[in-house]
Symmetry: C2
Subunit: 205 residues, 2 copies
DNA sequence: TAGATTGTTAATCGATTAACAATC
DNA sequence: TAGATTGTTAATCGATTAACAATC
């Protein structure tokens, strides 16, 4: 690959830029400067320019950035210029909330399948999708060509589910169980645990 | 205050240490070395020792850390050696999932009140709590002495809700709407947006 | 004591910021 | 052109790591 190694903090910020640009486009704004974008995001303008310069020259001196163009570039860089299907494992309250979440729309993702191991839940419909038996995971992942999954099961089952996902060929996982899961190289994982975020804030109170 | 300024990455890691220690105690482990803890968390042992040394000397040379003792120290440092009541705003699918979440238990938090502006939802019960009218927010926050809140409303309402929370005296906010909210100094805010996390991972695929 | 692991210092590494020439 | 803002360099700042004396 021609692309040099980009610092991870840069990659963490790009989705925030993209999110802000999508929002601005909804409000029909066409151009934005690094100054204005920085103010909206609480990030320094120099930081934004430096981050973007890792990938090319997307702005125009004296003017700023054409929002639609920058959005397309960011989508391409982040590989969300396509739609990734997600395997959602867990059809409890959290699974329902994720299945009904509006925020995936136009951001590169959709729920492709919902799985659970509870016979009470298997076969039930959530929105347009029928909850499938967890045991079908390998087939579902292969047949639908899924690479992304979300773990929304109880903590006690999260490790087992992660192993099954990885064995099935999933390459990117969002884990909602409050536990650190170790994954092999080549597999991405991120944990969403509101309590660690809360504990982080209370330190400062 | 006697406490010097602690680097923010340190404060971000402490809740992870605490979470791992709680888990180990459940499994009846009593002692752990920075080496072993680091392996579990994917963090270098030197990092862990350095982080902890910001606050005191909690270990014993040649042995490691007494887990129960370190847990108590971390709880104290993070101010979760008490229980913080949370004002949960939004009683939709996400609000339900949060209200039923088991993960708050023993980690310093509980849902103290649930509010919504939808007459259809007001008065309905979620677990033990009755959904209250959002307009009662200032009274609820004051009377219950709440400092922490969670925003689980549609994106279009998030800004308004955040302003109301801050006006009511809330000092720490978890925002589930995929939008950057600007808050005044002295108020902590963290955004939980699974899609930015997903977009971060797809970059690496 | 011998072995192990901490707490801490110094060195390295990496990220952010300031500043300005380039240029629209 | 004059004014504005980018892209980029160099300087600053901060965080991580390596190494080891202290000590249990």
């Amino acid at each position: 690959m021609g692309s040099a190694d980009i610092p991870t903090p840069v990659i963490r910020r790009l989705p925030l830029y993209l999110r802000a640009l999508m929002f601005l486009l909804d409000e029909a704004q066409e151009i934005i400067s690094s100054e204005e974008l920085g103010k909206k995001l609480g990030i320094s303008p120099a930081q934004i320019r430096k981050d973007l310069s890792c990938f090319g020259e997307f702005g125009k001196q004296g003017t700023g950035y054409e929002i639609k163009h920058l959005r397309e570039q960011l989508k391409r860089i982040l590989k969300v210029d396509r739609e990734w299907g997600i395997a959602l494992v867990g059809a409890g309250a959290l699974g329902h909330a994720i299945a009904h979440y509006e925020g995936f729309k136009n951001r590169g993702f959709y729920i492709a399948a919902i799985l659970d191991n509870d016979p009470q839940k298997i076969g039930k419909k959530i929105g347009d999708l029928e909850v499938m038996d967890s045991r079908l995971l390998p087939e579902v992942v292969r047949e639908m060509g899924l690479q992304v999954a979300i773990i929304a099961v109880p903590t006690s089952e999260a490790r087992k589910v992660a192993d099954a996902l990885i064995a099935s060929g999933i390459k990117a996982i969002i884990n909602y169980a409050p536990i650190t899961l170790n994954v092999p190289p080549g597999v991405q994982i991120r944990c969403i645990d509101p309590v660690t975020r809360l504990q982080n804030m209370t330190y400062y109170l």
